[in-house]
Amino acid sequence: MIKSIMIVGVGGQGTLLASRLIANVLQNKGVDVKVSEVHGMSQRGGSVVTYVKYGEKVTSPVINRGEADIIIAFEQLEAARYVSYLKKGGKMIVSTQKIDPMPVITGNAFYPEEIIEKIKALGIDITAVDALESALQAGSAKASNVVLMGVLSKVMDAPIEAWMKAIEECVPAKFIDLNKKAFDLGKNI
């Protein structure tokens, strides 16, 4: 069985760190792991996607429509964009943050209303959290990604110590405490 986790968000929101934390946690489980990242142009505020897959033997590093067991969306519009990648019966975790894309800012498109309700109406198991608020509480808006990892830790089969070790190994020393706090806040939402 291959498990697939997809992280979607806006370039600059720290989705890469999130995928590296998950990968770090999985690395020590004795399973095969693949992580696929996006670099370059879309990092400049575009829609970004990262895939993490693990299991006995992972071949394709990417996730296609109908495949993801879990989607973590860092932003509501991105949740809507990638709903179709969720497996039937899969789970979605979404930060309630909204970031207007340029076509909305320039008035050429509209940001859909009540995205979370509409995703729920599809019969999808979705958990919405105010990750930005918790991140600010932890000390920096930038830590929303780690708040969401705290939320994810509740549905992933990995001990909390593994997450703590991952934070210690992936985050610059001076931000470790802040991020551990952000993780705890996410875990307790």
Binding site: V10, G11, G12, A23, N24, Q27, D32, V33, K34, V35, S36, E37, V38, H39, G40, M41, S42, Q43, R44, G45, G46, S47, V58, T59, S60, P61, V62, N64, R65, G66, E67, L77, E78, A80, R81, V83, S84, L86, K87, K88, I99, D100, P101, M102, P103, V104, I105, T106, G107, N108, A109, F110, Y111, P112, I115, K118, I119, A121, L122, I124
Partner: protein, 576 residues
């Protein structure tokens, strides 16, 4: 224990383990991290070259002197490095020489979707194609053996999904390889016609030896699942096929992209009722099979565009689709944008406001083509802004006072300088704007010859752009601060009107650089709804029911929005 590594990191590790001592590259997504990871190994002399041609020549020089060497680049970078490569194919190597080229199917961050395998075929050099990080490491080491055994440069072909995916790798120690002795040998290394004619004979013989080698090379793998269908595939496409088709089919996975084996493919094809070729971009394996008289199905099903996926393969071959839900409304696209506080924004705003035609180039500032700035008119390749402007002005001299070229500092170092020499030498009245943000932005902040810092982080000589431009023969050179909109606009208007060529250097470091001190965020006191600030396309400013609002977590206080607001509504902060 195995380590999780990016494909690019695994190539770097392979270089380390293979005892490479000289690496020279130019950054380009998705290849950049190879050389960044290499920089962490003290045993390797690694550098950013000003462009791929220089990088290639450095690596070939190092090889001639006896060392194992490497250069890396993205697909279009190999076009720049093609000149030395095609002749190094004749000279061959002394120390092993390997290059990595990363294709970008789907154009995640590129201006075209070219298939680098054509270069390997045209240059007549072997090309290896790994499909995951572990193979990246193994193939890289193998490439040095092949390079030295067959006296040839060897290409490693990567793609976005191989370069930018992490998978588990087993690490080994470094082989300490000492330089091969240097022996003067003009018949091999001086490519004038008489010598080159002999070397061409060698090249053709080498290709046949390499083909024989490819027939039995462990890099080509057969996986027989006792099925009716056989699939010939390579690289990332293999991983998609393996997920989509599992053991319902048998595989011939070609790690040797050039030269392709003959017997191996013929024998594989004989065993199955139906043969599919699954390859991204062009139909190179497919054409090879057709030439061998083998009946295969490939591009007719999969086409030539973009990336393949397990979804496409399962659908086309098995007719299977996974069920999924879809969001009920249309979801607005989210194209990339210039960062909040990007120093380029002020320049494009001024150009757009004055309806100036813009000959553009490759970098973050290509985003100046997007709405609402919609400023850039053309983007072709690295350096084409400057040379293209000269061409535009030759064709339409009256348009010269309404046309500029924009080029970043790194791109100017790469191949803008020669275009400017041409302008000075052949005398059009051209206006070139160098967007000097003191870094190579788009590829993730690499140093370049104008920044005064090298790949290893040491302080070094910095090209003085003003002095260089003057030395080329451009007399009108001025520097502006793009956070000062009025000054920037005035300079553009004046230089366009001037009777001779000029260069404007718009100087401000990239807003994402760590050393750039961010000034407190701006605030809109009472918005009068003039919507002027929305024309800047700053992602920190949004339109909330007709009134502008600034997202304080994103704003870096560059201040240009307060300069454009008609009513002076945007306050607090300021430029230092």
């Amino acid at each position: 224990m195995k380590k999780l590594m990016l494909g690019n990191e695994a190539v770097a590790r392979g270089l380390y383990e293979a005892g490479v001592t000289v690496v020279s590259s130019y950054p380009g997504t998705p290849s950049t991290e190879i050389t960044e990871f290499v920089a962490n190994y003290d045993e390797i002399k690694a550098e950013w070259a000003p462009n791929e041609k220089v990088a290639a020549e450095v690596a070939f020089g190092a090889s001639f002197a006896g060392a194992r060497s490497f250069f890396g680049m993205k697909h279009v970078g190999l076009n720049v490095a093609a000149d030395p490569l095609y002749t190094a194919a004749y000279t061959g190597v002394n120390g092993g020489c390997v290059l990595a080229v990363a294709d970008d199917p789907g154009m995640h961050s590129s201006q075209n979707e070219q298939d680098s395998r054509h270069h390997a075929i045209a240059a007549k050099v072997p090309m290896l194609e790994p499909s995951d990080s572990e193979e990246c490491l193994f193939f890289t080491k193998k490439a040095y053996e092949i390079s030295e055994e067959f006296d040839t440069p060897v290409i490693i072909r990567l793609s976005t999904r191989v370069s930018h995916s992490q998978s588990l790798c087993l690490l080994s120690d470094r082989d300490e390889i000492s330089n091969k002795p240097y022996v003067k040998n003009p018949a091999k290394y001086v490519m004038m016609p008489a010598n080159a004619k002999n070397r061409h004979v060698f090249v053709e013989e080498r290709t046949e030896k390499l083909r024989a080698y490819a027939e039995t090379s462990p890099l080509n793998q057969t996986i027989d699942n006792n099925t009716k269908i056989g699939v010939i595939t390579a690289g990332a496409a293999y991983t998609y096929a393996a997920q989509a088709l599992g053991d319902n089919v048998s595989y011939l996975k070609l790690g040797f992209a050039n030269p392709l084996p003959v017997k191996l493919i013929e024998n594989f094809a004989k065993k199955y009722e139906k043969i599919y070729v699954i390859e991204e971009l062009d139909g190179i394996i497919e054409s090879h099979c057709i030439n061998l008289g083998i009946n295969v199905t490939g591009k007719a099903l999969f086409g030539y565009l973009g990336e393949l996926s397990q979804e496409i393969i399962a659908d086309k071959i098995l007719g299977e689709k996974l069920p999924f839900d879809e969001f009920s409304e249309s979801v607005p696209v989210r194209p990339p944008v210039m960062c909040a506080g990007c120093p380029h924004r002020g320049v494009f705003y001024a150009l757009s406001k004055n309806k100036v035609r813009v000959s553009g180039d490759i970098g973050c500032y290509t985003l100046g083509a997007s709405a609402p700035l919609s400023s850039v008119d053309t983007t072709l390749c690295m350096g084409a802004s400057v040379s293209g402007l000269h061409g535009m002005n030759l064709a339409d001299p009256d348009g010269a006072s309404k046309t500029v070229a924009v080029i970043g500092d790194s791109t100017f170092m790469h191949s803008g300088i020669t275009g400017l020499v041409n302008i000075a030498y052949n005398q059009t009245n051209s206006t070139v704007i160098v967007l000097d943000n003191s870094i190579t932005g788009m590829t993730g902040h690499q140093q370049n010859p104008s920044t005064g810092i090298n790949l290893k982080g040491d302080v070094t000589a910095a090209v003085n752009i003003e002095a260089l431009v003057k030395a080329i023969g451009i007399k009108r050179v001025r520097v502006v601060d793009p956070y000062n909109l009025a000054e920037t606009e005035a300079a553009i208007v004046e230089e366009l009107a001037a009777p001779e060529s000029s260069v404007i250097i718009s100087r401000r470091p990239c807003a994402l650089l760590q050393y750039v001190k961010h000034i407190p965020a701006l605030e809109i006191v009472v918005c009068n709804g003039c919507k002027m600030c929305l024309k800047l396309g700053c992602p920190a400013i949004s339109n909330k029911g007709g009134k502008a609002e600034i997202d304080r977590t994103q704003c870096v206080g560059c201040g240009i929005c307060s300069e454009v607001c008609r009513f002076g509504c945007i306050k607090n902060g300021g430029v230092n």
